[in-house]
Amino acid sequence: MTHSVTAHGKLQILSLTGEVDMHSSPIARKVLLDLVKTGSPVAVDLSAVTYMDSSGVATLVEALQNAKKLGQGFVLAAPTGSVLGVIKLARLDKVFRIVASLAECGDLAA
């Protein structure tokens, strides 16, 4: 797994690529929680994530809960089929705000 952070206006975007599993999710967790802590709205670009296990899903849940506490937006962008499948399996597809592309979270940038 690799990751990169970019900013679009106020919005912080974490882009993940490759497989987010038990081995790599602790890294993703640290980066993501630090990003949420800044108080900015956060989008996680999942378009290049080919596999995600329950530890990856748990990381996203933890980040969402922290963002909510700070009253900040948190959005998952462009998940691939297999990642969306796992999110649905955990019945979290209604808990997250999930958008088909990063362009759809412009509201958080302003």
Partner: protein, 559 residues
């Protein structure tokens, strides 16, 4: 306004106080006696008695009496006398001078020194059906003739008494019924305890019995023999109810005892037959199949005593049926039951009772319906398959007409596809997933199924690393992958050397509670058909058995 001192008011008060007497005491005899005595004294009469019809309705029997003569227990033929007339006509009888009444029965007077002059008699009835009467004899005092007012009063007493007696009888009946029901429930429990306990995961035989009532006339059994082979049976006792259940208990006990030493099923049935013929009565009989399964060779030897033909569903879906040539057990002794031999060869062997083929009421399932159902559920794991079938059958015919009993024998061994071994390090998971993708593809799994398998196995392996080894990379895990031909399923065995885990602690959590973690078991259970911890082989700590049908769809909504 009614003058409070008027006769009418006194009358009302008297009846009201009688009524109160009935509600105050729960001792029926005492209440009836006291109330009748009060009425007798109120009318200033010489004697009173209460008679009830016996169960056969041939006699009226004196329940109690008051007066100079004790006739308690006296039984007078029903149909004779003024008392009977009141009961038959369900009407009040007032006879001012018995000498002028042709129905007067002087028997009691003749046998005693008592002389009857006049009789007032009111029937005891419930819902228009009389079952006894109260009579008051010889009004004395200044005006020795019964009046209409006396009649009204006695009728009131009779109504109260009839209600109280009826209520007491109903209560007694309910108590007796409840106690009988309790007995039957206990009998049912004992019977169920004769059936096999839930077998270990991967046991090649699974049976199910759903009694139509508390107790069953059907049975099935399987017993592991000393050499590893498994004796099995399924049977149905003629008739229903307690008698059938007693013969069922006897037959299953004989089987469970004899199968350990008599290993030719035909000879076993012959021995049970002779025993049942010798002791059975009322023309009862038992249809039964007994056999022995060898899990190593998948061979079955069985014999059939008048039972419905067992069905072999071969691995390619073809059906073979084996009709019984011999009559049921319990009809004539000295019979010989021939053994039949078959090999499962990846197929499944089904035994069933007529409650299965006759389920569905007018839309009877029949043999053809049963075969369709066997096809429909063929790829489900054994226990799940039979439970689904029984659920379907029992929902199509409510209430059940007959006991439903099913037993299936099927090899749980799979053809090995490959074995993977890894250190307990999260770094190994990526390679594990790659190899599982390759193996599943080579076994013929579709892309979507492969992804589901990978997700489930990844979670299972994560659990071993995280919980089994507590994150230590010192241990290792092993994945054995197999393909079950008959069920067209992939089988996965995950073995580790970690300390044995407590199965009770491995469970899915509620997803309502949104929080990180704890999703792994839920993922595995959602995706796999089976997930069971089995006894680990020598040298291993845990064995997690999982299976998934290869035709499963819509597992992960991957677009």
């Amino acid at each position: 306004m009614i003058d409070p001192d008027s006769h009418l008011m006194q009358e009302i008060e008297f009846v009201a106080s009688l009524g109160a007497q009935f509600t105050e005491s729960i001792e029926l005899d005492e209440t009836l006696r006291n109330a009748t005595l009060r009425v007798m004294e109120h009318m200033d009469a010489e004697a009173a008695s209460l008679f009830l019809l016996n169960a056969e309705e041939t006699h009226l029997v004196c329940r109690f009496c008051a007066g100079p003569m004790d006739v308690t227990g006296l039984s007078v033929p029903f149909g004779k006398g003024i008392l009977s007339r009141a009961v038959i006509n369900n009407s009040l009888e007032m006879v001012l001078d018995v000498r002028g009444d042709k129905d007067f029965d002087a028997m009691v007077d003749e046998e005693t020194s008592f002389v009857t002059h006049s009789i007032l008699c009111a029937p005891l009835a419930m819902k228009g059906k009389p079952f006894g009467a109260i009579e008051i004899i010889n009004k004395a005092g200044a005006n020795p003739l019964f009046t209409i007012k006396d009649g009204r009063l006695l009728s009131a007493l009779a109504s109260l008494s009839a209600f109280a007696i009826h209520h007491a009888r109903m209560t007694a009946e309910r108590v007796a019924q409840e106690s009988l029901r309790q007995e039957i429930r206990l009998a049912g429990e004992i019977q169920r305890s004769l059936l096999p306990q839930k077998p270990e995961p991967r046991f090649p035989i699974f049976g199910i019995n759903l009694p139509a009532q508390e107790i069953s006339g059907d049975f099935y059994s399987h017993v592991v023999l000393a050499d590893g082979r498994i004796a099995f049976s399924l049977g149905d006792v003629s008739g229903k109810g307690i008698r059938a259940s007693v013969l069922m208990s006897k037959t299953i006990s004989l089987f469970q005892c004899l199968c350990k030493t008599m290993q030719a099923p035909g000879r076993l049935l012959a021995a049970i037959n002779d025993e049942v013929v010798e002791t059975s009565s009322h023309g009862m009989f038992v249809t039964m199949i007994a056999g022995i399964y060898n899990p190593l060779t998948e061979d079955i030897v069985f014999a059939n005593a008048g039972h419905l033909p067992p069905i072999l569903r071969k691995a390619d879906g073809e059906f073979l049926m084996f009709e019984a040539d011999m009559p049921p057990l319990g009809i004539s002794s000295g019979l010989e039951f021939p053994d039949e031999r078959i090999c499962l060869d990846g197929g499944s062997f089904y035994l069933y009772s007529d409650g299965v083929t006759e389920a569905g009421g007018e839309q009877e399932l029949g043999e053809a319906g049963l075969k369709l159902m066997l096809n429909e559920f063929a790829r489900h794991p054994l226990a799940q398959r039979l439970r689904s079938m029984v659920e379907r059958l029992s929902s199509s015919s409510q209430p059940l007409n007959d006991d439903i009993t099913l037993l299936v024998i099927e090899s749980t061994e799979s053809y090995p596809v490959g074995v993977l071994k890894f250190a307990s390090d999260p770094l190994t998971l990526k390679e594990m997933r790659e190899r599982i993708r390759e193996m599943s593809a080579s076994a013929g799994a579709a892309v979507e199924l492969i992804e589901a398998i990978v997700v489930a196995l990844n979670e299972a392996c994560m659990n071993v690393i995280q919980h089994g080894y507590q994150g230590s990379a010192q241990g290792g895990y092993e994945l054995r992958v197999g393909h079950h031909k008959g069920r067209h399923a992939m089988i996965f065995e995950l073995l580790d050397h970690a300390p044995s885990i407590d199965k009770a602690n491995v469970k899915s959590r509620s997803l309502e509670d949104v929080r990180p973690g704890g999703l792994g078991v839920h993922f595995i259970q959602q995706l796999m058909d089976e997930m069971e911890f089995c006894a680990a082989p020598e040298g291993y700590g845990n064995l997690l058995y999982m299976s998934i049908r290869m035709d499963k769809k819509n597992l992960l909504e991957i677009s």
